[in-house]
Amino acid sequence: MSTVAVEVAPTLPEVHYLNADYGWRSWLFTTDHKRIAWLYLFAITGFFAVGGLMATLMRLNLIEPQGLLMEPASYNKLFTAHGLIMIFFFLAPSIPTVLGNFLIPIMIGARDVAFPKLNLLSWYIFMLAGSTFMFSVIRGGVDTGWTLYTPLSTTYANGHVLSAAVGIFISGFSSILTGLNFMVTIHKMRAPGMTWFRLPLFIWSLYATSVIFILAMPVIAITLALIALERVFHVGIFDPALGGDPILFQHLFWFFGHPEVYILILPSMGVVSELVAAGCRKRVFGYSFVAFSSVAIAAISFMVWGHHMFLTGQSVYAGFVFSALSFAVAIPSAIKVFNWTATMHKASVSYDAPMLYAIGFIGLFTIGGLTGLFLASLGEDVHLHDTYFVVAHFHYVMVGGAIMGYLGGLHLWWPKMTGKLYPEAWARFACLLVFAGFNLTFGPQFILGYLGMPRRYAVYPPEFQVLNVMSSAGASILAIGYFIPLVYFTWSAFKGPIAGPNPWGAKGLEWTIPSPPPTNNFEETPIVEEAYAYGHEEAHVG
């Protein structure tokens, strides 16, 4: 199949989901999962640009020990908005709503998600949430940090906590509905022969993500409702003066908050599994281990929240348990890393852009994950808590991991989404730029944190300047690295060469249909006999 596709000059199908219908109504009222994916892509690219701009301003400010640009109060609002936008309005929706929406029905051989109207409603709820949140930012923002800790967000709040909380509250429901939709789709809509253990690993990881969406998002919703109540009525739920307990907020927040960070990384892990399989033309080594490690990560993620609170005076025995369980998360994560690496062993590894992103992910996520273990150990955390070490750690996971995965996935499936190829050389160059810029930005922050520079400060002692300037220089390289794909993706959507159904010679149902796919995805429901059916051509490779 694939060899034929390569030899014959590919053509675009006459009718596909992009040209089946025209006009703004056909987009804003669409129930086609592929078009909804595009709606999300535009929205989150906007949020990413805003959040990224804020990060750039922060790094600019930190070039000078006394702050180059702004008052500390503005800086506080900036890092709060950066964190909240990136987490709730870019990272959490990124892979699930763009790649997930586009690919889940296609990968399992379905015509659409189980509830297409609900899918569109999720987008509108998301946009309402984003607008509400941006409204609070424009009015002056919040200065509490993304964690919104009480009493800074209640009794002593001097920002627009209420509208920010309402925005995040609403965004939670968008995520819940998306997760619900995905879970029902994966359970009930699989094509004949698509058994659980023939599912692409991307589906497994999004399934695990959906479970977290459904179980963690309601907790932050109710917690934010309590914050709003506290703000409006000063009732004392989190106010010690009235008998309330501010630590309760931290427990509720992190019961959501830690699973939330797995919402951000699990989809990327799923993408990387697909990238590695496509880039090595091989079934991922230890399929069922990789699949179950996603589920294991989702399950354990609900039992580790206390590692954010080692220094709040929680019981030391609770600390032991949380520490041990946090170490336990490293096991399924390591299983994935080892299995991806084992897949690459003796494979004919392609060095196209998607695979470069996957390799970058594996390296950076490993650093991010292992430094997480420093923070999970009780004694070490006392020294590193709330320093730049923590900032560097989670950026290695969130940016070096999650965003690398997202970009890699976009590069792999862009030909499927648009039917067009992007310039490979530019893509590789951008990937290397992102990798280099990223390491220069966040590598020095490990050292800064270890030396004791606390996070969330607009000013710092002069002896930290060299490392901070390095970090800011890296951020500017990173910004260029993110900008280049925006340019060549836009170019390729209009002028790129035609891709054909399967430019990578990859396996999986999405590569068996035309690019771009028809509105109904499949002419007739496919019958699946094997997952990752590489093997057959592999004989002449090794």
């Binding site: 509830f115 029902v184 809509m189 998002m217 309601p218 109710i222 009525f233």
Partner: protein, 230 residues
């Protein structure tokens, strides 16, 4: 359901057949209820913490509630669950009249719950000065009760906050439920439900039973603290 009538029911384009569609719909509601458990869970968690910390205040607060209301609601909701379950059965048997009657009965009990709760119980608490932040001025009798249990007044206020939040969130769900029943009644009248979409009744029923079960937990947790039966 290899029934001849079933084929007449329109199946949405993304589904292969009617069975897949009904299975997906029902499973979707179960997942939604899982979300709901965690949504209420945050409040139950906070409640447990403060009840543990300020047990005296929570006992005093509980004694200030009118237990007869709580008991009445419990009976009301259990009966409404019965009529809802009978409604589901009537829908499956395609008995349109019986379905309409059961849905109306359920509707009346749901509406009565919300109306009595807001109009009499909450409003009564408000007049008595037991609504924190809005009208918090416990009467002399209330203060006697609070002092009897050696409770601190702000902690009793905390009890009432949880009382209003938890029963309020529950009442909100009841209002949504009554709205769903209204929609279902309209569809039943149009013949859409007995025409094959009996599953809609089942799904609303799942939601209704869930909201009832939440009340079954709320009643003892709020009204019966400290072995209180009258």
């Amino acid at each position: 359901m290899a029934d001849a009538h079933v084929t007449a029911v329109p199946v949405a384009h993304q589904f292969d057949d009617f069975e897949q569609q009904t299975n997906a719909d029902t499973f979707g509601m179960w997942l939604f209820l899982a979300t709901e458990v965690l949504f209420f869970g945050g409040l139950f968690c906070g409640y447990s913490l403060y009840r543990n910390l300020y047990f005296d205040a929570f006992t005093a607060g509980s004694h200030l509630l009118k237990v007869k209301y709580g008991a009445f609601y419990t009976v009301l909701l259990i009966c409404s669950s019965l009529t809802m379950a009978l409604g589901v059965r009537s829908a499956q048997l395609r008995r349109r009249t019986a379905l309409t009657i059961y849905l109306i009965l359920t509707w009346i009990m749901g509406f009565a719950f919300v109306y009595i709760k807001l109009r009499y119980e909450w409003y009564g608490d408000y007049l008595e000065g037991l609504a924190p932040a809005v009208n918090w001025a416990p009467s002399r009798e209330s203060m006697e009760m609070i002092n009897h249990f050696h409770a601190a007044v702000p902690h009793v206020a905390l009890f009432f906050i949880f009382y209003f939040c938890m029963t309020g969130l529950h009442a909100l769900h009841m209002i949504v439920g009554v709205g769903l029943l209204t929609t279902l009644l309209i569809f039943t009248r149009q013949g859409k439900v007995t025409g094959g979409n009996y599953n809609w009744v089942e799904i609303v029923g799942l939601y209704w039973h869930f909201v009832d079960i939440v009340w079954i937990f709320l009643f003892p947790l709020l009204y019966l603290i400290g072995g209180r039966y009258v």
